[in-house]
Amino acid sequence: MRGKSRRAGRALKAFAGVLLSVIVVASGARAADDAGPNGDWPMAGHDYANTRFSPLDEINAANVGKLSLAFTFSTGVLRGHEAAPIVADHTMFVVTPFPNVVYALDLTQPGAPIKWKFSPYPSSSAQGEACCDVVNRGAAYANGSLYFNTLDNQTISLDAKTGKENWRVQLGDFARGETMTMAPLVADDKVFVGNSGGEYGVRGFLQALDAKSGKALWRAYSTGPDADVLIGPTFKPFYAQDQGKNLGVSSWPGEAWKIGGGTVWGFVSYDPAQNTLYYGTGNPGPWNPAQRPGDNKWTSGVFARDAGTGEARWYYQMSPHDLHDYDGINESILVDVAVNGQTHPALVHPDRNGYVYVIDRTNGQVLSATPFVPITTSMGVDMKSGRIQWNPDKQPEPGKTVRDICPASPGGKDWQPSAYSPRTHLVYIPHQNLCQDAMTSQVSYIAGTPYVGADLKIKVGPGGKRGLFTAWDPAAAKAAWKIEEDFPVWSGALATAGDLVFYGTMDGWFKAVDAKSGKALWRFKTGSGIVGQPVAYRGPDGKEYVAVLSGVGGWAGGIVAGDLDARDASAGGGFVNAMSDLPQKTAKGGMLYVFALP
């Protein structure tokens, strides 16, 4: 085992060598424009490029030590709070985990009292169809309306001033395992939403709705015939592995594509200049790969689509025939990158499979793919074919225990979104350092029940720390600095023009570090573990505020949020095996914390 790992490491270095002349020259100017003029935070990713970079600089390295609590708000819910608070029009909007209550808080009043509350009443039964806690990743504000999804597959538009319902549409069926947990993206007068349920044999899709009426405009499935995937004459994937007719059918056995996953539960990015959307597709189902020989298109990859028609422009598959639940849903941050002196409009995508991908977003060409965590499951990404080189020693086989799979199924990084600062040219990646032992098995498809066929025992990776916060330099294709954390860093990251970076830990610390050096500058202990997305905004008083939801949960926090029993190492998708000490460090909660300088 060890000898093979060393060989894999040498191979990785050889592949990485190709990329050394990559330089990032991105600018945050456009990002600031879509986020509005007032230091608002109108969507989960802050801007269409998903930078999570706030142009506010009042709070900086010199004064952050004085950062103090401004106000708090209890959500009344005790499950994983993964949402970003949304700020627009002097109001903060918070969507809770199931039952997905929306609170509007009036930022013009002392203590930010409730302006309105909206209860969508999603079905209680939908809770049984959510793989990884009943989370919600936030709302989106645009043109006076607020948009959000409910666990039972409704997309709802509210009047942001009054909380009155504009429209609601039902987009999926929880009785067949579909749910919705993602934060919508609103752009080009359309709302873009996708489904969850890759562990229930659902068929993933991205849906476009008319922002004013909720009318369905187009739906692009992630599996099936080209007509369903909206693949037509304009589809020009860069690599031969993604070229051909109806690969969404032929890369599956029989009709397995109908229950093949590829859900769209991550963040969607948008390039207004090209009117193009970028998003990742989830894992193929079931996890047991023996039941789905083939590349399983179009799962575990990145799509670029025309926002107007939904037509696919290109696709790149990070994990063909995904062996380890390496969903491709992680965010794509849109930045410009120079390679060998030539500037490419690019996207930076830190993937579950352990590589940071820099991809030319005009054509889907991989400019670099570099490991950011220890990897045993693959030996590198072949730059000619674009194909990941899976390590056959870590290939699951039904009935066989495969040990030391690195990264584990939650990946080098899961859903928790990175931030990018145009001032430091660094991508700030909140993530984990986990490996696992796994055994797959034949699983029956029974609609409305899980469709997985794998037992996992997740454990700490090399080095002994489960969490990492990595500042990644895409130009040098290496880490600028890293912070080790005891628990997986399951919160999002926030970067600000004050050259600060914020993130939270699963034992409840909210931290500010120096964006250039990673030096710890400030921390505050919240009531529960943090798995939410921190944001910064300018209040009606002109001051800069930083906000985050505290409330442990999600896949990593299931042992606390779901009261799971660590005597069964496979509980909670095997994650409790790595988290058995979390209940001694934190308890359930659901609280908004907002900070400002005194």
């Binding site: 049984g128 009935g399 899980p450 799971l564 069964d568 190492a569 496979s570 909670g572 209940p583």
Partner: protein
């Protein structure tokens, strides 16, 4: 039809409806009360009446318990409850029972489903298999016979075998974390 006739018809309809509205069934057998086959609540109005039968069918039967274990995987129970430690659904190897630990209560939970995400399996799987599942679910916290409970798994080793679980005193309660486990 003249106006008077129309009025008569309307009056007749109104009075008929009124009859239905005011009707009382004086013959109703008010003293015959059927207790439910299974009680989900531990409180009753007035004195606690004697229990109806809550017996399981296979608590001591090794074959049925091992069948229960196989079906627990086949019907994807493991997808939500793992091998007893819980996942989307609650842990079943601890002493905390949201909907009761008695065999008939577990039977009802499987057949009826429960409102926060437990599917209703009634009508979808044979009755006999439900009882095998009931016995196996109880074995996860040592409530079935240790002599008959399964002692091996077809999966990789993730926990102690059911035959080796010390019986835990069941409590009907809301789960509140690992700290209260014995």
């Amino acid at each position: 039809m003249n106006v008077r006739a129309a009025c008569c018809v309307v009056a007749a309809i109104v009075s008929l409806a009124a009859c239905q509205r005011e009707k009382r069934d004086f013959e109703a057998p008010t003293k015959a009360v059927t207790p439910p086959p299974v009680r989900l609540s531990e409180i009753q109005p007035g004195a606690i009446s004697t229990k109806t039968s809550l017996e399981g069918k296979y608590e001591d039967n090794a074959f049925a318990l091992s069948e229960g274990k196989r079906l627990f995987g086949w019907y994807n129970c493991t997808g939500c409850h793992a091998h007893g430690g819980g996942d989307k659904g609650p842990a079943l190897m601890d002493r905390v029972w949201i909907y009761g630990s008695e065999p008939a209560q577990i039977y009802a939970t499987i057949v009826e489903g429960r409102p926060n995400g437990m599917p209703s399996f009634g009508g979808h799987i044979p009755d006999n298999e439900v009882w095998e599942l009931v016995a196996y679910v109880r074995s996860l916290s040592g409530l079935a016979s240790g002599m008959a409970s399964p002692n091996r798994s077809d999966t990789m080793h993730v926990k102690a075998p059911e035959s080796n679980v010390e019986a835990q005193q069941p409590v009907t309660a809301a789960p509140s974390g690992a700290s209260e486990r014995p």
